[in-house]
């Protein structure tokens, strides 16, 4: 701490409460986790929390796929089915994917920029502990009279206002808590990156994971308040007699969709940009070749983030927006393909003429690039407004966003987890089991989601508990794939626990092609790192 005090007096002020002993470890017992301000502890808690939510949200998906295994209603009734689709979406988006990336940010950003901790450690603790409260509140609605939210994760008014179950108020409060948590997390990321970089680490020397998170954090700060405004207007409509979203009182249900998607479209990039960053570290590491086009990667990420603010109405091509509006949003959406294409081409060029090996992180990263691109292709198709009149709200859309979220966001998280597990635990994970996890996930995921393109094009709407017989065969294939994918993730839990409890000791830099400050410290990473800032040349 003393060196830090000399060099960075302002940082030391923030940390004045921290013990001044040099080699102190974590506190003992439960209070370590409740009161911790350590970025590694908080990162770990975020990651475990997100994995727990991933399993819970996944179990809801299993209920959905079990009901859709065959035509007819056999397992659940439509009202419960709707609660399952809604909660699956909400929990996966806000509970699994976003906290997982915040967990990775907490663990890795200080290690990557050579900072001793996040810039605002106590706020960091608070942003984490808001999440369990928010999700307890959200999940408790399933046991309330009238059931939980049943209006889809996009909660369009007036289905989510006038026609909603009473538990909608709990849902609104839960969203507020999640939003506060995300905004604080984002402020922390920005403060850390802009203020705590090691001497010599200029912005254009930062690892891409840090860059993509910096941009993601700005997106979060821009759009989470919009979501908060959206649910607050719902609250006013439900309890205080306003009519923001009711035509009968002079409002407009379509206003809801504009506000929601102004949040919602940047939100999908919030869920994918950090994965872009992680993959941009992993592919060069296992290609043993520097990332191709670092500068263009940074500019492409920034362009995607900018464009994400001006394309929201492509989710609303059939609500009856005027022709000029349709054209604008179609063109703007098509434009996103350009910077996204640049990223994919850069990854492929990084692999070109490398010296490739396929450890588990690389398998997930390569699958990420290929399958995310397939999701990008269907996204390009959806951008063509007249064709979207056929795709909109069918299983084609479900296939599309699961291709960008499962092998996109989720595979990005798995790749990151395997890549940095040796640094976190000090042990190598079991490579054979890791590869098995990858292949089972890869097969299960494609079996679950690829046939959804087919049923969607054949005319099956989304969010229905029962369907015509012509969709039966592919739905059964989808369900079998989904069960396989779901069961495989329990296997991942086993791999991680095995890695924490033991295994081959990991060296400081377990991957010979890896680059970055995080590999300059021992494995497992000591409780306090970079108390003296490293020198970056």
């Amino acid at each position: 701490m003393s060196t830090l005090t000399d060099d960075h007096a302002h940082v030391a002020d923030d940390h004045a409460h921290v013990d001044h002993e040099h080699a102190h470890g974590p506190a003992k017992g439960l209070m370590r986790w409740v009161l911790t301000t350590n970025h590694k502890d908080i990162g770990t808690m975020y990651l475990w929390f997100s994995f727990a939510m991933f399993l819970l949200g996944g179990s809801f998906a299993m209920v959905i796929r079990a009901e859709l295994f065959q035509p007819g209603l056999q397992i659940v009734q439509p009202e419960f089915f709707n609660q399952m689709t809604t909660m699956h979406g909400l929990i996966m988006v806000f509970g699994a994917v976003m906290p997982a990336f915040v967990g990775l940010a907490n663990w890795m950003i200080p290690l990557m920029v050579g900072a001793p901790d996040m810039a605002l450690p106590r706020m960091n603790n608070f942003s984490f502990w808001l999440l369990p409260a928010a999700f307890l509140l959200l999940i408790s609605t399933l046991f309330s009279p009238g059931g939980g939210p049943n209006f889809g994760w996009t909660f369009y008014a007036p289905l989510s206002t006038t026609y909603a179950p009473e538990s909608v108020t709990f849902f609104i409060f839960a969203i507020h808590l999640m939003g506060i948590s995300s905004i604080m997390g984002a402020i922390n990321v920005i403060a850390t990156i802009l203020n705590l970089r090691a001497p010599g680490m200029t912005l254009m020397k930062m690892p891409l994971f840090v860059w993509t998170w910096l941009i993601t954090a700005f997106l979060l700060i821009a759009v989470m308040p919009v979501l908060a405004g959206c649910v607050t207007m719902m609250l006013m409509d439900i309890h205080f007699g306003t009519s923001f979203f009711s035509a009968a009182g002079g409002g407009d249900p379509v206003l809801f969709q504009h506000v929601f998607w102004f949040f919602g479209h940047p939100e999908v990039y919030i869920m994918i940009l950090p994965a872009f960053g992680a993959v941009s570290a992993i592919i060069p590491a296992f290609s043993r070749k520097p990332l191709f086009g670092y500068t263009s990667m940074v500019y492409a990420t920034a362009s995607i983030a900018f464009l994400s603010f001006i394309v929201w109405a492509h989710h609303m091509f059939v609500v009856g927006i005027p022709l000029v509006g349709e054209l604008f949003f179609m063109y703007a959406t098509l434009l996103i393909a350009v910077p996204t294409g640049v990223k994919v081409f850069n990854w492929a060029s990084t692999m070109w003429q490398g010296s490739l090996s396929f450890e588990t992180p690389m398998l997930f990263a390569v699958a990420f690039v290929i399958l995310f691109t397939i999701g990008g292709f269907s996204g390009l198709m959806l951008a063509i407004a007249p064709a979207d009149f056929q795709y909109h709200d069918t299983y084609f859309v479900v296939a599309h966003f699961h291709y960008v979220l499962v092998p996109g966001a989720i595979f990005g998280i798995f790749a990151s987890a395997y890549y940095w597990l040796p640094k976190w635990t000090g042990h190598m994970y079991d490579e054979t089991l890791g590869k098995l996890h990858f292949w089972l996930s890869f097969i299960g995921m494609n079996m679950a989601f690829f046939p959804m393109h087919f049923v969607g094009l054949a005319g099956m709407p989304r969010r229905i508990p029962d369907y015509n017989l012509q969709f039966a065969d592919f739905n059964m294939v989808s369900s079998i794939g989904a069960f396989m994918f779901g069961a495989t993730q329990i296997f991942f839990l086993f791999i991680v626990i095995k890695c924490i409890r033991g295994g081959e000791p990991a060296p400081a830099k377990p991957w010979d092609g890896a680059e970055g400050l995080e590999w300059s410290i021992p494995s497992p990473a000591p409780y306090h790192t970079f108390t003296t800032p490293p020198e970056v040349k």
């Binding site: 009279p145 289905l159 070749k289 059939v318 087919f454 592919f474």
Partner: protein, 375 residues
Amino acid sequence: MMRHPQVWVGLVLWSIFSQAQAAWTVNMAPGATEVSNKVFDLHMTIFWICVAIGIVVFGAMFWSMIVHRRSTGQVAAKFHESTTVEILWTIVPFLILVAMAIPATKTLIEIYDSTESDVDIQVTGYQWKWHYKYLGQDVEFFSNMATPAEQIHNQATKGEHYLLEVDQPLVLPVGAKVRFLVTAADVIHSWWVPAFAVKRDAIPGFVNEAWTRVEKPGLYRGQCTELCGKDHGFMPIVVEVKSKADYDTWLAERKAEAGKLKELTSKEWTLEELVARGDKVYHTTCVACHQAEGQGLPPMFPALKGSKIATGPKEGHLNIVFHGKPGTSMAAFGKQLSEVDIAAVVTYERNAWGNNKGDMVTPKDVLALKQAESK
């Protein structure tokens, strides 16, 4: 690796379903209108563009993965940037997108031109059925799903048009430009017939326009595509396209029926007749929420069996059916059902499931309420 299990599982499933109609449809159908064919062409064009890009990019990646492996002794090259290729792979995709946007724009402009229609139909989404009104023709009716509950609950064999069949289809003349004015009475619905490439959200308080010109007579099926609550999956659309002559005959018949319905209001009804008619009305209109035995799904959908309203004064009962209950899913059926049907269903509810009130609400009572309202 990924193909084999799919094929294997596919073969097993094929054998399971071989007695049923095995439908492994993988693509959109071109449809039955000029616009739907153009949309189909756009869909195929963008699809093949994606396939071509995919072959190039994935081809390069797989080449690297096979040839540039460390296990084959490959030494990594050092290059890591090239402004030329970066510019190239920014501009080329941009030009491809411009080429794609041009036909898409043309088709979109055509889709948005709903002027000079021959027939105008107001389509209204209700939880969970569609209402069709032929503007200027004095013909209107509801279209409910006709699939029996036994099929849904696996107590009877499912038919070919399971969940895609209705009691009264929308009828259109072939070759005429039909304009749809799409709206909703409660939540947002979406009216979609894939064969016409028409999908428009039905939004309460607003009217959206869409149009079609169907070239072949026949039956066309679709579904609601915006989550609208519990029975979102059970509000299909069926459109019957008839020749001009058949359409005119049908329209004349419907007008005559509307006249007959008015006569029914003035007829003297007995309790038994009203209960019998009310039974049918209840099981098409009310059963989704209040359930077959009147037990409801509390607390969202209250029970009618033994309820205060259904066993209380008949004026109060009629009033809630007629006006609905604001702030809940209970709609105002005064605008949805005929006088006879409202009288019948109220009478039925007062005399079914042990609610043996023995009294009746007549069509004339309903008419009186209606006239009092309009004053």
